[in-house]
Symmetry: C2
Subunit: 175 residues, 2 copies
Amino acid sequence: MKVIAFTGMPGSGKTEAVNVAKEMGIKVISMGDEVREEVKRRGLEINDENLGRIADEMRKKYGKDIWAKKCLEKIKGEEKIIVIDGIRNIEEVEAFKSKIKNFILVAIHASPSTRYHRMMKRRREDDSINIEDLKRREKRELSWGLGDVIAMADIVVTNEGSMEEFKEKIREILS
Amino acid sequence: MKVIAFTGMPGSGKTEAVNVAKEMGIKVISMGDEVREEVKRRGLEINDENLGRIADEMRKKYGKDIWAKKCLEKIKGEEKIIVIDGIRNIEEVEAFKSKIKNFILVAIHASPSTRYHRMMKRRREDDSINIEDLKRREKRELSWGLGDVIAMADIVVTNEGSMEEFKEKIREILS
């Protein structure tokens, strides 16, 4: 079994990479979904602030690798390939590496200006809407250790060109 | 004037990128040289431990952007292009961005296994020699904020193939 984890800064194209995996019929385990479930379970609104706060709170309470452990519970070893979405700190990487022999960390990269531009163009329920919000979110994710994860990636995929070009690169990695 | 800064984890190929710039006759300002000068000035031996300790000490005393400021003093605006070697934290990036309009941050990336393999094969006066030393050095550089710098790069250059292939990519960026 191979486990491929996608990571990247907000707006880098992580979600699109994960969508490629889904289109290919690959099982995707989303660390963000785990956080979303927890926020819902508490009867809170799904928004950027609550998602960030609960994710952080659980890490402080149960360890920095809590969301990785929750994902690992869902891996039964029946699939040939599984994609993990949303790794954010080195402790999560280590949790996966300690349990999964074939673990490959893939960082999606785009320049800050490309990412800001993209994020201003679209919205999602947990997306921020002005550039200062984006930079705050970025700083928060870096403070969790996202930069270290990107630096320690096995593969970096650049996403500066067209969407189709990017999807093709991801398909290549996954197949 | 354009200022291009190379950054990257130990063993990524940063030094080779800088050497390409030198071969092209581009002025290179090395943040590491600033640290080396300071270590020599204090009559200490040039080794990994002293370089790391003095770099860290000066950052604590004069601010995280002290080595960037020392480099900025050397930029007179006479050159068309200057290369900066050895950026390690986001505060240094911000110091350059605040003074230099055309500042481009280039991260060199190779996977951990490629980097460890390379570093075990070569030695330099400040290179470590066993894998545990390498990992300790890596952790120390990440603790300075190197991961955040890599995540915030404008361009990421992958260095997993041949040296000639890598040098060609760097030449392209610089010309």
